[in-house]
Amino acid sequence: MKVLQEEGVDTIFGFPGGAVLDIYDALVKTDIKHILVRHEQGAVHAADGYARASAKVGVCIVTSGPGATNTVTGLASAYMDSIPIVVLTGQVNTSLIGNDAFQEVDIVGITRPCTKHNYLVKRVEDLARIIKEAFFIARSGRPGPVLVDLPKDLIQTTTEYKSIKDVHLRSYNPTYQPSMKQLPRVVSLIKKARKPLIFAGGGVILSGASRELKQFANKIQTPVTASLMGLGCFPASDPLWLGMIGMHGTYRANMSSAECDLMIAIGVRFDDRVTGKIDTFAPNAKIVHIDIDPTSISKNVPVDTPIVGDCKITLKKLIELLAAEDWKDLKKIRKPWLDQIVEWKSTRPLAYEQKDIIKPQFVVEKIFEITKGEAIITTEVGQNQMWAAQYYHFDRPNSFITSGGLGCMGFGLPAAIGAQVACPDRTVVDIAGDGSIQMNIQEMATAVQFGLPVKIAILNNRYLGMVRQWQELFYQRCYACTDMADAPDFVKLAEAFGAVGLRATRPDEVARVIKKALSVNKPVIMDFHVEREEGVYPMVPAGAPITEMLLV
């Protein structure tokens, strides 16, 4: 407990059980706040949402056996998105480990491939050091989840606590400082480039480099696109912003990536949902790749100038180097390229047509307008997630919280709860699908119990919409098992939980419902009955070059 407090932990998301009784007994005697979730998966997603909104480490405690296995999906999601969380799991007594004891699972074995690191504590003398290391590993370098498995007997033993100052691991030493040999090369590439493009990702947000990115892009007058994970790292209101890249990226972002002669990739990992067909990605470009994780570099896409380092430090150094150069004619040089981008934007903007039935994009746009773009948005997975990414325009980081790499349905509500705990004064909206929301709906009870006024906007198409869209396009409209018409009445459901339920079935009701929801200081479910067969566009079919966009 002492170590947790030393690490600045003020909130823990968890669910008790036999193996962690002693931890809970100690926990309630501290001033650490405990948020009792209704399912351990919810605890991990909430810790994830908390970490992303606060840029701190999220913490969970769960019991052994089923408590531990219920964390696996949450860990996998946090691992894919590099989110710093520490999960403490109970374990059976040391003497029983390996005996198939009641509620025993080898959670260290199970989670090895979906954690940055994990530990089974075997001696009470190691406990404090291991917890310290867990926090250190979770937040340093490329962040990620760390799991610590705590046998019950060990927690029951008392030992004298010696404060540990520094963590030193002989085998772990992330590279923050970029190689000074590489940076001047980048400067000369920028000088030569006629059609440069910045492609930013979640790494920019994780390293807190948004301000530097803005300076950098403005200095070199270079347009910026971002992956799903990068949204918010560059202000959407800046004229250099292109929107998201990739499978559901904007026309201009995808076209720019195909046409650019220099791509400066910062804190990205070239996921297949971004690149499309890999050998046609950025075919004309020299690629500079800045990332703290060397395994991300040249993994999927060959890179001309690799730079291993922290995004923020590297950008700062680059900005210093740029300042020494002469950029007098830059505006003139960039004009044709920037004009081209404006043309792409005006001929092929994101668009939809709002008629009698509510369009899901319209709902997201209204949420954006009414919250003035200042809300924290979490999402579920599917079409709702993509419409949120396309139509909510983020001006600041740590505001868009989505399960990017794993794409895990049921993420949005618990993540919203975590974000609301981290930022009690901000509006938090979960843009949800009718399918996904049912995967962790039990967390409504958590939101109500702890007075967390999260707003859930269900874009209710009564389909597993994204899967349906693929069936429409690639499986001759055979909607196998994606019809979700048999859903609960979400308004009544909200009320049953002790929250507020609102519904809109006509376009003119949308704004009123959103305003009403924002005006009550309680959790609210908004049930928007939207056009059932609306699709997310542009769309690049999986495995096609990203310029081959289906536009409507």
């Binding site: 260290v108 074995g109 090895r112 491939p113 940055k116 690191h117 089974l120 590993i137 691991l169 002989r170 085998s171 772990y172 994780d293 060397p294 395994t295 040249s298 993994k299 999927n300």
Partner: protein, 167 residues
């Protein structure tokens, strides 16, 4: 990532790792999870009791080898990764072979044991057990020569390796 078999060659890696339970599982899990190849693997303590050395032979093209090395370096318990590609090193394997020792073949077996600088380590009524150290080719050649006499069982270690010192 597709394993490009055409340019795949063998590479010997030597890893220094924390001598802790679970470390081997991390390494082998990394290889199976990412579809990398393990041809052979040997682990033992080093002079420092809390450090083990894993000698690992893998197969892949240069791109895959790079990824393997980076991924190994990323494992928290891996202290150091040494790649023997392109540097001089000595590599050995050990094989123990139970060969049918019919009276009329015994002299021939012993002659071959002598030529290969092998040793007889156990003598039974019908079988000799011989041990041989050497590189892969030498062991393969030896097995080929013994095969006609009837090999009952073979057990082999993977390769172990150390870099050569400067002359």
């Amino acid at each position: 990532m597709v394993n490009n078999i055409t340019n795949a060659t063998k590479h010997t890696l030597s890893l220094l790792v924390d001598n802790e339970p679970g470390v081997l599982a991390r390494i082998s899990g990394l290889f199976s999870g990412r579809g990398f190849n393990i041809e052979s693997l040997c682990v033992a303590e080093t002079m420092e009791p809390n450090v083990s050395r894993i000698t690992l032979v893998t197969k892949g093209d240069m791109h895959i080898l790079e990824q393997i090395k980076k991924q190994l370096n990323k494992v928290i318990n891996v202290i150091k990764v040494l790649d023997f590609s392109g540097i001089p090193f000595v590599q050995r394997e050990l094989a123990m072979i139970k060969v049918h020792a019919k009276p009329e073949n015994r002299a021939e077996i012993l002659r071959m044991v002598d030529i290969f600088r092998s040793r007889v380590v156990d003598v039974g009524a019908e079988y000799y057990t011989v041990e041989l150290t050497g590189d892969e080719d030498k062991i393969a050649a030896f097995l080929e020569l013994l095969r006609p006499m009837g090999i009952k069982e073979v057990t082999r270690t993977g390769a172990i390796a150390l870099a050569r010192e400067k002359k």
